[in-house]
């Protein structure tokens, strides 16, 4: 069929018209896929790969530092941060928006790609969903600690005050945020856990000691692969996917309302919701890519998380990166075309004012670097994609910095302008949130199945039969693909 020098069973990045790429490489069947995925979590704890221990040691120490910083903040008050008039929203909101954005890729992969029948998602959806949950945990940290009087954090929730019986203001986007992010966290957690039940049952059934059997057994809820259960399970999964799809689009839209609903030049724009959503998916995919490249090499899962998967993610990064670049352009166009002097000043000030360095970091990381993915060689090069994914995350963090800080620092009246600089506490808290994120992710890799085995087996069974009633042996399929 093809004259490729590499057999098609090894190179699944080759686009052959009318022929679907193989999603699982090598001579794998159901048993070997299970073995490869489960082996990662089943080894004796002390024999965990050294790389894991080193990474875990580093990130756990950073979590220690995060806790110290948060403790210091609670002890001294928000004065330890760089926020002051006129910039009352500093790193806390920048980090919040950044982390919520990172969290968007997981649900996009698990819900939207599911509805679009993108079968390549099965190898990566579990770890992307886990990443979503951990990113949202990092995001939720910041609204929780930034309010100064942390013991009154429950005022965020729709609970009437005990003295005056007043309620929160439901017309405020800040309260919408509580509902949007809270719902997003809950639904992502349900989706992740529900998807994991059959795989937890696999771990239970493979357990060689009682502790493991009981621990996984409790969370597997007594799953026994019953087809009567699969029927309801799949229907519930479809419902969750259909619900999570508008949800994921709504969450960053609501986050963008925090800015767009205000009157401030540079914030008060209607482009914000779609622009924020595209940016969120962009940064989220870059983060998933970054984590998966590391995870697959630590645990030798290159046959399951293949170059084809990574290349597909790079294509999504290219597409969303172009949308983000387009949004930057349109913002400037409207600032000029709209004829509002404050608006046009806000944008000139962004690109050429005191924070121009941040603006140009953002543009070079977000607009220029992803364009390199037009080249297939770069899309398929692991070092290149790692570098680009890193730059994309730097750029997306700076995007939030630029939006939040430049608009607040120089609004309508020059007499009320003022610069904002983070303190060391701000910087260490930001670093600490990365530590928390990586710690949680490393624990996930060690104790939970990082690939959705049951879903992957469906894809293996249907690799060639395109949704026929019953599956064929994977050996046959592999033989056919090698031909």
């Amino acid at each position: 069929m093809s004259t490729a020098t590499v057999p098609s069973s090894l190179d699944n990045t080759r686009e052959v018209p009318g022929h679907r790429p193989q999603l699982v490489l090598g001579d794998n069947d159901y048993a070997t896929v299970t073995e490869k995925v489960c082996r990662v979590v089943e080894g004796p704890f002390l024999e965990t790969p050294r790389t894991w221990w080193i990474l875990f040691g580093i990130s756990a120490s950073i979590v220690g530092m995060l806790l110290t910083m948060v403790g210091w903040l609670f002890y001294k008050g928000v004065g330890v941060w760089g926020v002051n008039n006129p910039v009352g929203w500093g790193f806390a909101i920048v980090n919040f928006v950044f982390w919520v954005g990172i969290g968007h890729a997981g649900t996009l992969i698990s819900a939207i790609l599911y509805l679009f029948r993108q079968q390549w998602r099965t190898a990566i959806n579990r770890s992307a969903e886990a990443m979503t949950i951990f990113a949202v945990i990092c995001a939720l940290l910041f609204p929780g600690i930034h309010i100064g009087r942390v013991w009154l954090a429950f005022w965020l929730f729709p609970i009437p005050d005990q003295q005056l019986w007043t309620w929160p203001n439901f017309r405020s986007p800040l309260l919408w945020d509580v509902f949007a992010v809270g719902t997003y966290f809950t639904v992502s957690l349900l989706f992740w856990y529900m998807g994991m039940i059959p795989d937890l049952a696999t771990l239970r059934d493979r357990a060689t000691n009682k502790v493991r059997e009981v621990a996984y057994g409790i969370f597997a809820l007594g799953w026994r692969g019953s087809n009567r259960h699969w029927q309801r399970y799949e229907r519930a999964y479809l419902c969750l996917a259909a619900l999570a799809t508008p949800l994921v689009l709504s969450v960053h839209s609501v986050v963008s309302f925090d800015f767009a609903v205000s009157q401030l030049p540079g914030w008060h724009t209607t482009i914000f919701p779609p622009y924020f959503v595209a940016g969120a998916i962009f940064s989220g995919f870059a983060m998933v890519l970054f984590l998966l490249v590391i995870a697959r090499s630590i645990y030798g899962l290159q046959e399951i998380i293949t170059l084809h998967h990574l290349e597909n993610m790079n294509k999504i990064i290219l597409a969303t990166g172009s949308m983000v670049g387009y949004a930057y352009g349109i913002e400037f166009f409207i600032a000029w075309y709209g004829g509002n002097p404050y608006e046009s000043f806000a944008f000139t000030n962004r690109a050429f004012g005191p924070y121009a360095w941040a603006y140009w970091i953002m543009v070079s990381c977000n607009v220029i670097t992803p364009q390199l993915f037009w080249f297939q060689k770069i899309r398929q090069s692991i070092p290149a994609m790692m570098v680009i994914a890193f730059f994309v995350n730097v750029g997306m963090w700076f995007e939030r910095f630029v939006i939040v800080i430049t608009s607040l620092a120089a609004d309508f009246l020059p007499s009320s302008w003022g610069m904002y600089w983070p303190t060391w506490v701000d910087l260490m808290t930001l670093l600490g949130s990365f530590g928390l994120f990586f710690t949680l992710f490393l624990l996930f890799l060690r104790f939970l199945p990082m690939v959705a085995m049951a879903e992957l087996k469906v894809v293996m069974a249907h690799a060639k039969s395109h949704g026929d009633t019953v599956s064929r042996g994977t050996k046959e399929i592999a033989a056919e693909a090698a031909r």
Partner: protein, 190 residues
């Protein structure tokens, strides 16, 4: 091929109560064919166990579509009403708040929270509804007494027929299952 006990025989077999039969298959096609025959034989208290959802098996088993989507719809409608009601009660009725001269009660400002609660309630209903309809958590079940059944979550396919089935007969059902072409037949005893 003959029926073996789950525990590989041994003493005290006479006291053990027969809970059903477990028939193992190597492939999903073989399982699907067998399921159609079990369905046509009129059994009702039986099941197929697969490591992943096998498409088309619902028809082979004669399963009706689940009512779960209707429950989810009900959950979503409840969430929508709770969202609207909460905001109306809190900001328009119980303690009217004057914010920037806006009306106390106006739908557009209340859409985001209503939407989020609709999604939240529907998602919780989908998850909890699935658990309740499936009878989870249920940590003990006769099929777990079989050691071979441990592969049901990896790469083997099973049909189980419960002794409670009205058509169940120890020898007749055993013979019937033996004719289905499975690779191993087992008695489940508890």
């Amino acid at each position: 091929m003959s029926a073996q006990t789950a525990n590989g025989g041994g003493n005290g077999m006479e006291q053990a109560k027969l809970a059903g039969y477990l028939l193992e298959f190597e492939t999903a096609e073989a399982l699907a064919d067998a399921c159609a025959k079990v369905r046509d034989a009129g059994y009702t208290r039986w099941d197929a166990h697969t490591p992943f959802p096998v498409h088309g098996l619902d028809a082979h088993m004669g399963l009706k579509p689940t009512m779960l989507p209707w429950l989810v719809f009900g959950g979503g409608a409840t969430g929508c009403l709770v969202g609207l009601g909460l905001q109306w009660w809190a900001n328009a009725e119980n303690y009217p708040l004057i914010i920037s001269g806006k009306p106390f009660w106006s739908i557009p400002a209340n859409i985001p929270v209503t939407f989020e609660l609709t999604v939240l309630f529907s998602a919780l209903t989908a998850f909890l509804g699935m658990l309740v309809l499936n009878g989870f958590p249920r940590l003990h079940h006769p099929v777990f007494s079989s050691n071979r059944f441990r592969r049901a979550t990896t790469d083997r396919f099973f049909v189980s027929v419960e002794a409670e089935d009205p058509y169940f007969d120890e020898s007749e059902t055993g013979k019937f299952l033996q004719g289905l072409g499975g690779s191993h037949l087992e008695r489940l005893e508890v």
